[in-house]
């Protein structure tokens, strides 16, 4: 009897303080298939994959490889069994080169001397074969997220892993990179590798996966063949209700100008040129303006300049009629600006703080949370956090006292969104607010953005996601190489036209 399954995870149960992250979950991976894992934020997907990769030990259940029971006590065991993983948050050494990161731990050596040449050839051959473009000598800190991810993939291939786990690989990629990755995954599967793939994007799952297993709140819901199902069916399985993919909104009624940016120029950290060149734009009360563009065209620096994280080279920023060009971050934050940062781990959270301490990260000094003697008012912090956890459906093991680091990626993001929106800002700067969120949560965030708008607030959305760019805003500004090259009306334009602007193939003179 031939066993079609290369990996079987049978009746896996894994508990964390206050929560059963995996409750009797069974997952069977066929040889050579791409198997998607779908579930809401906090459903236990990353945990299940970490169990397979030997980072957590399940309390119950067993894992079989080729039908034989195996013990995976640590990632080394997993590696010996041919299991590799690209984590949701990459695990690379920033100040090492791509090549060094790939061979780390399995360095080829002769009498203890590194044989880098051999390694380089092998890496180059692999990168050629699978179309994984990398520069082996570049330092990790200097390369794009996409290339970092390709480095992670090469790391697995270099170790000759047969079972590849991808934890939300597309959350951080641009649409172009996503297409490339999809192709790479298909090539790998055609080579006979078996792939486990976590994603919140149903379209991707439909496009590459053969089968899809759905989890909900730690429980196994079912496994379906993608060719026999639809996106609607999948999302209903996952959240237990129908999800509306289209954002419902009334026509905008723009009012007075809330944010006025004139001739903003911001220096770049990575190259000599300015990253943002002479950008002018206005955002009015009651409208959502989206800054669209391919990653790396100056959006990050633009937001840094706007929020005060980086100084401007030149230009003027006016918020509610007040010149804030040189205002401190605190001043901006207390005078009507909220900022959902691009990178939740870099700026958004103090990972070793509790959830409640992170929720008051920008308000801890207010009289509500600190008394006149400078002591924190714990009770108020606690009840405030509890309210937000409830309102924004932030799921975690121990509620307000959960350490942020132990929360699932999507719930970390929800905590930040709750914190920023609940400040009730006049201007909300939301940079990729739905990164890493499940479809249900995305729907919720989009609804909240529209609600802000309808309440007469200004929203500046920065997004790489084409669907989001087309669906949510009232106006689209396209950024290309640090300049605004086009203003589009989402109701009039098409994804194709948007793509031309984003690629720099088309541009208009835009007046702010």
């Amino acid at each position: 009897m031939d066993n079609p399954y290369v990996i079987e995870m049978l009746h896996i149960t894994k508990r964390f303080p206050g929560i059963i992250a995996n409750d009797d979950i069974t997952l069977q991976l066929r040889r050579g298939e791409i198997h998607a894992l779908l579930g809401e934020n906090g459903a236990g997907k990353s945990t299940l994959m970490s169990v397979l990769f030997g980072m957590y030990q399940p309390e119950e259940g067993e894992i079989r490889k080729d039908g034989k029971k195996v013990a995976i006590n640590n990632p080394n065991d997993a590696n010996d069994l041919g299991i590799g993983m690209v984590h949701q948050h990459f695990k690379l050494v920033e100040c090492f080169s791509v090549l060094d990161n790939i061979i780390m731990g399995v360095e080829p050596n002769r009498f203890g001397f590194l044989q880098k040449k051999e390694a380089r050839e092998k890496v180059l051959a692999l990168s050629e074969k699978y179309g994984l473009r990398v520069d082996p000598d570049a330092l990790i800190e200097d390369i794009t997220v996409g290339m970092q991810q390709r480095t992670e993939i090469l790391k697995m291939l270099y170790r000759e892993n047969e079972i590849l786990i991808f934890d939300e690989p597309t959350a951080v990629l641009t649409p172009q990179e996503i297409d490339e990755l999809m192709q790479i995954m298909k090539n790998l599967a055609a080579e006979g590798k078996s792939i486990l793939f976590i994603s919140h994007k149903l379209a991707e799952i439909m496009a590459v996966a053969d089968r899809c297993t759905v989890l909900r709140k730690g429980k196994y819901i079912g496994t379906v063949e993608t060719k026999n199902t639809t996106m609607e069916e999948l999302s209903a399985m996952m959240v237990g209700r129908n999800v509306n993919f289209h954002v419902e909104k009334k026509p905008a009624e723009p009012g007075e100008v809330i944010l006025d940016i004139e001739h903003m120029t911001v220096a770049s950290k990575v190259h000599k040129n300015n990253a943002v060149k002479d950008v002018s734009l206005k955002v009015r009360a009651g409208e959502i303006v989206c800054l669209a563009g391919i990653d790396g065209n100056g959006q990050t620096e633009f937001v840094y300049g706007l929020t005060g994280l980086e100084p401007l080279v030149s230009g003027k920023v006016t918020l509610l009629g007040q010149d804030i060009t040189r205002a401190s971050i605190r001043y901006r934050s207390t005078h009507g600006m909220s900022h959902i940062p691009e990178d939740r781990h870099k700026h958004g959270l103090v990972l070793d703080y509790t959830l409640e301490d992170n929720i008051v990260l920008e308000r801890y000094f207010e009289p509500e949370f600190t008394n006149s003697m400078g002591f924190l008012r714990r009770d108020n912090i606690r009840s405030y956090a509890e309210r937000l956890i409830d309102e924004y459906d932030i799921r975690s093991g121990q509620g307000p006292i959960t350490i942020a680091r132990s929360m699932s990626g999507g719930n970390q993001q929800k905590a930040i969104i709750a914190r920023e929106i609940d400040k009730n800002p006049e201007l909300l700067v939301a940079v990729q607010p739905t990164r890493g969120l499940d479809v249900g949560a995305i729907e919720g965030v989009h609804r909240q953005l529209v609600a802000q708008r309808d309440a007469g607030k200004a929203v500046l959305l920065v997004s790489l996601e084409l669907d989001e760019v087309m669906d949510v805003p009232d106006r689209i500004l396209v950024m290309y190489e640090g300049e605004i090259v086009g203003e589009l009306d989402p109701k009039q334009t098409t994804q194709e036209e948007l793509g031309l602007y984003m690629a720099g193939a088309k541009r208009d003179e835009v007046k702010a």
Binding site: E60, I329, R332, K346, H347, V350, Y364
Partner: protein, 378 residues
């Protein structure tokens, strides 16, 4: 119930610290065995017993007092290191801040004849200024505080030697005795000497340092300032994003750390327990031992009180090692071995956690297997 007890953070810290201490004593014992097996157990017992080596109760108390006198400055140095550590700064410069604190307190006392309280405040101020320098360098030039701290340690040492030469005895390298030159600069005993059979070096320093440890604990855990500080230590980018004045906080943190170390020096030298030797050629070990005490205390201000006492206890105990069997450096060697091992507390804690986790899994697996076997029988 039992599980949660072992997983409790405080319990783990305590356990890890105790294991480190035992390990240190064991290694010390092995070293003694290697040098001279005959006296090893006697010597290690002497170190552990410290003042208990005396048989008369009054002498015991008096020497217990002496250990306490040296605990106060160590505790201050440990608090200095700990405070900065919570903000993500490694204040190896505590030793230098302590040194300039000595300089300030003794010079104010001996050259200007100030009273103890003025001398103490002056030492605090100078320590704070000395801490501010690496703070400014870090905040505005992004200079690593460890590097600038180490350099400033030496600058502080030689400046102190130079300045205190003005108030030293003509025939020796030691500074004047406070008792003869300016008794008003000696810290008040608050009647504490009565508890330690007349040891009048036991002063205000001891209760004051303990109170400060409690104060630091409160500041870190309960106040807005502590919240900001730990946020900056935990993720400087997020602190900046949240609008915390990271530069100001860095400078302020190191100034406070410097003030604590400077005060430590005043608490030591304004008791007239020791004089400064103006030919000293190494930075006083107090600041460095403070690092060990911080870690041995599980990075907790209250834990640090006990850790500081323990380190002084064995350091003083080293003096009781039989010098006919071992050379005189042995006492320092043994205590430094133990202090060295104190640095392993955090490491031990992590390994302990993984061992606990593994055991639990094994137990769970065994229970499951047993349950299955039973099920199978039926």
């Amino acid at each position: 119930m039992k599980k949660s007890f072992w997983k409790n953070n405080a319990v783990q810290s305590l356990l890890a610290s105790l294991i480190c201490i035992l390990l240190g004593l064991l290694i010390g014992y092995i070293v003694l065995l290697c040098i001279n097996p005959a006296g090893a157990s006697g010597a290690i017992m002497a170190v552990i017993k410290n003042f208990m080596n005396y048989s008369r109760a009054s002498l015991q108390l008096k020497n217990f007092g002496a250990t306490l006198v040296k605990t106060a400055p160590l505790l201050m140095c440990a608090l200095s290191v700990l405070f900065a550590y919570k903000a993500g700064l490694f204040n190896i410069g505590a030793a230098g801040q302590y040194t300039v604190g000595i300089c300030a307190s003794l010079y104010a006392a001996l050259a200007w004849h100030w009273s103890w309280i003025a001398c103490m405040l002056f030492a605090i101020l100078v320590g704070a200024l000395w801490g501010t320098i690496p703070g400014l360098l870090k905040a505005y030039c992004n200079v690593n505080v460890v590097i600038s701290g180490i350099m400033l340690n030496w600058i502080g040492l030689y400046s102190t030697n130079m300045i205190l030469t003005k108030v030293k005895e003509t025939t020796s390298p030691y500074t004047f005795h406070l008792a003869t030159e300016n008794p008003s600069a000696i810290l008040p005993t608050l009647g504490l000497e009565k508890l330690f059979s007349g040891n009048d070096k036991v002063t205000l320093a001891i209760p004051l340092s303990i109170l400060l440890a409690i104060a630091i604990s409160v500041i870190l855990e309960k106040t807005r300032f502590g919240y900001e500080l730990k946020a900056t230590g935990g993720n400087p980018n997020a602190a900046k994003y949240a609008g915390m004045a990271e530069k100001r906080n860095t400078i302020l943190t190191l100034a406070i750390a410097g003030a604590l170390a400077g005060l430590g020096a005043a608490l030591m030298y304004l008791t007239d327990f020791e004089q400064w030797q103006c030919t000293t050629s190494s930075v006083p070990g107090m600041g460095f031992s403070g690092i060990a005490a911080t870690f041995l205390g599980g990075l907790n201000p209250i834990g640090t009180i006990f850790a500081s006492y323990f380190i002084q206890h064995i350091t003083s105990g080293g003096a009781f090692v039989d010098k006919t069997m071992y050379c005189s450096q042995i006492s320092d060697l043994i205590s430094s071995l133990i202090i060295y091992l104190c640095g392993f507390v955090l490491f031990l804690k992590t390994s302990m956690n993984s061992i606990i986790a593994r055991n639990e899994e094994k137990r769970a697996a065994a229970a499951k297997a047993a349950a299955q076997a039973e099920g199978g029988d039926r």
